[in-house]
């Protein structure tokens, strides 16, 4: 009994540690003073109104949404075949390849961002939006490969071979038999990659330029000048939307087994 009480204690501490910041942010966003504090004084929803009225937030929200969707889509387009090759085929140098797939997820984001800036943006002089899109695609690719690989590993290769023995070409077998059965894995990859892109700061920091910022970058800029609860309000909105998306996806697709 003693031991389980101790475990319970640790668990509660962990939850406070993990969820505490969220509680602080959400509660402080309803304060009525123009300074963020916890616990807040008074109650108002004015900061939520303010979020919706600041044009830079609206503008950068669309930049983030567009970048996130496009980059996620591209990363999946590349990631699904890469995951397939990674799981199903044996080839020399496969281990090295797997390490490469995961390296952007291991190397610190600042380093990746700087490398992209120094060796890609400066060299090619692409527009900021294009740079952002390509940079995000590069960091999302390993996530899509890994999540789709996990769902492919759960799918019996024999089923594909059965389709081939019944007359499907390998490509047809993929679309007729494999794809319908790894859809939830692909959806999981989509959601994970999109959230990763939407929340990304270190890469975007290097790739955004004059006049173009993503929402998190805009939030950083805003915080340099103001310390009112607007940021709390905006963060609360993002937290709630993220929780709703992840919950809905979990209910419908059971994505937690792939992530």
């Amino acid at each position: 009994m003693k031991r389980s009480k101790f475990l319970l204690f640790i668990t509660i501490i962990m939850f406070i540690f993990l969820l505490g910041p969220f509680v602080v942010i959400i509660v402080s966003s309803f304060g009525s003073e123009a300074v963020m504090r916890f616990p807040p004084k008074g109650f108002s929803t004015q900061w939520y109104e303010k979020v919706l009225n600041i044009e830079m937030f609206r503008k950068t929200f669309w930049v983030s949404l567009k970048t996130g969707l496009l980059a996620t889509f591209t990363a999946l387009l590349l990631g699904v075949p890469a995951a397939y090759a990674n799981v199903r085929w044996r080839y020399p140098g496969k281990n090295a390849m797997e390490i490469m797939f995961s390296s952007p997820a291991i190397v610190p984001g600042l380093v990746v961002g700087f490398a992209l800036l120094r060796f890609f943006i400066y060299v090619t002089q692409v527009p900021v939006m294009v740079g952002l899109y390509l940079g995000h695609t590069a960091i999302l690719f390993p996530y899509t490969v890994r999540v789709v690989s996990a769902s492919l590993r759960n799918f019996d290769e024999g089923i594909e071979e059965a389709a081939v023995s019944l007359g499907s070409s390998p490509l047809h077998a993929f679309f007729a038999v494999v794809f319908p059965n790894i859809r939830s894995g692909i959806a999981a990859a989509f959601i994970l990659a999109f959230i990763t892109s939407f929340n990304n700061v270190p890469i975007s920091l290097f790739l955004t330029g004059p006049g173009v910022a993503t929402l998190p970058i805009q939030m950083l800029i805003y915080m340099e000048y103001y310390f009112d609860p607007t940021i709390s309000a905006l963060s609360s909105i993002i937290i709630v939307i993220t929780v709703i998306i992840v919950q809905a996806a979990e209910k419908m697709l059971g994505i937690s087994k792939y992530v």
Binding site: D156, G158, E161, S165, L166, G167, S168, P170, P180
Partner: protein, 355 residues
């Protein structure tokens, strides 16, 4: 010319390290040939080479007189049944079975009839709309079977199709497979590590070991007259004793084991024929072929009883002859074990091979 011919096949998973080397196999039309052997013996490699999932590095695969060597698996007209069923989880029983027909551009009008007929054949009428997840293991394997025979393949390959089923269901499905084979006359190659399956189903058995064929023969040949020590052990000649050859008489081998004289009346093996008296020989016999006796007689060995397991209609004895362990399975309840006991091996039940 045989219906299926594999000649001079080199094949395996890693280039340059073939599992099968210079491998030959022929199967006649309408035969059910089992590839029997322990895991890693090359039986599945053989099956996958015939199916086309492994491309032979060398040699030819002929099916119905046609060279299939360069063809990919989807261009060979072969049905496959897998150990874990490999049904399409997102498709109904009907769509699973119709899959091959649709890939073959079968007339849309005839597909429902063909599916209905084959479902009747495997006793699953009325299950068309179910998903694989709503079926039991036995039913899934019937669907898999239906799916592979509805395309009327030249050849049906079965890779341990019963090993995921429980014992009772396995017996049932074995009988079913046998019935289907006789009814349809379809040529089948059946991979298994289970000697009972191979013995009861096959018209011919190919026993494999380390990529080579140890023996090919009818089930009776294999069970009664194993040609090599490996085959003997595989079909249940589990007990092994070492002895010395005493003399070779006409149709008789006489040897000396631990100082006792033993006679075998089985056909003298090639390896023993060339041996001289005094040379080392290996002796094999089955646990269920022996008799335990209190009296010393012909072909007997004094043994100690280590322990006895009661198994219902039989009892399993762990015996010790000096340092050598011997297993015996004897009908009836365990016997009283006081005093000295003798293990009697009937002369027609002893296999002798050169040591």
């Amino acid at each position: 010319m045989a219906f299926i011919e594999l000649t001079n096949i080199d094949a395996g998973y890693v280039k340059g390290h073939p599992v099968l080397k210079d491998f030959h196999l022929t199967v006649e039309k309408g035969e059910l040939v089992s590839l029997l052997g322990p895991s890693g013996c090359g039986k599945t490699t053989t099956l996958r080479t015939i199916a086309g999932f492994i491309m032979a590095e060398q040699g030819k695969v002929l099916i119905g007189g046609k060279d299939n060597t360069p063809l990919p698996p989807n261009k060979r007209n072969i049905g496959l049944v897998f150990q874990n069923y490999a049904l399409f989880p997102h498709l109904t029983v009907f769509d699973n079975i119709a899959y091959g027909l649709r890939r073959r551009k079968a007339d849309k009008q005839v597909i429902p009839k063909k599916v209905t007929d084959v479902l009747k054949l495997v006793s699953l009428t009325g299950y068309e709309k179910r998903l694989p997840s709503q079926l039991s293991g036995g039913q899934r394997q019937r669907v898999a079977l239906a799916r592979s025979i509805v395309i009327e393949p030249d050849l049906l390959l079965l890779d341990e199709p019963l090993s995921n089923l429980d014992a009772k269901l396995r017996d049932e499905m074995r009988a079913e497979l046998s019935r289907l084979q006789h009814q349809l006359g379809i040529t089948m190659i059946y991979v298994t590590h289970d000697q009972i399956e191979a013995l009861s189903l096959s018209s011919r058995i190919v026993v494999m070991n380390e990529g080579n064929i140890e023996q090919t023969g009818t089930p009776e040949d294999i069970y009664e007259r194993p040609a090599t020590p490996f085959v003997a052990r595989f079909v249940g000649f589990d007990n092994h004793l070492s002895g010395k050859l005493a003399e070779l008489q006409k149709g008789k081998t006489v040897m000396d084991i631990n100082g006792s004289r033993f006679t075998s009346t089985r056909a003298v093996s090639e390896s023993v024929k060339s041996s001289a008296a005094g040379e080392q020989v290996d002796v094999f016999f089955r646990p269920e072929d022996v008799i335990l006796s209190r009296e010393k007689t012909e072909n007997c060995l004094e043994v100690e009883i280590d322990y006895i397991n009661y198994q219902g209609n039989t009892s399993a004895y762990a015996l010790l002859a000096g340092d050598t362990r011997i297993r015996a399975v004897i009908p009836g309840k365990p016997m009283e074990t006081s005093g000295s006991m003798y293990l009697v091996i009937p002369p027609e039940k002893i296999i002798v091979e050169k040591g």
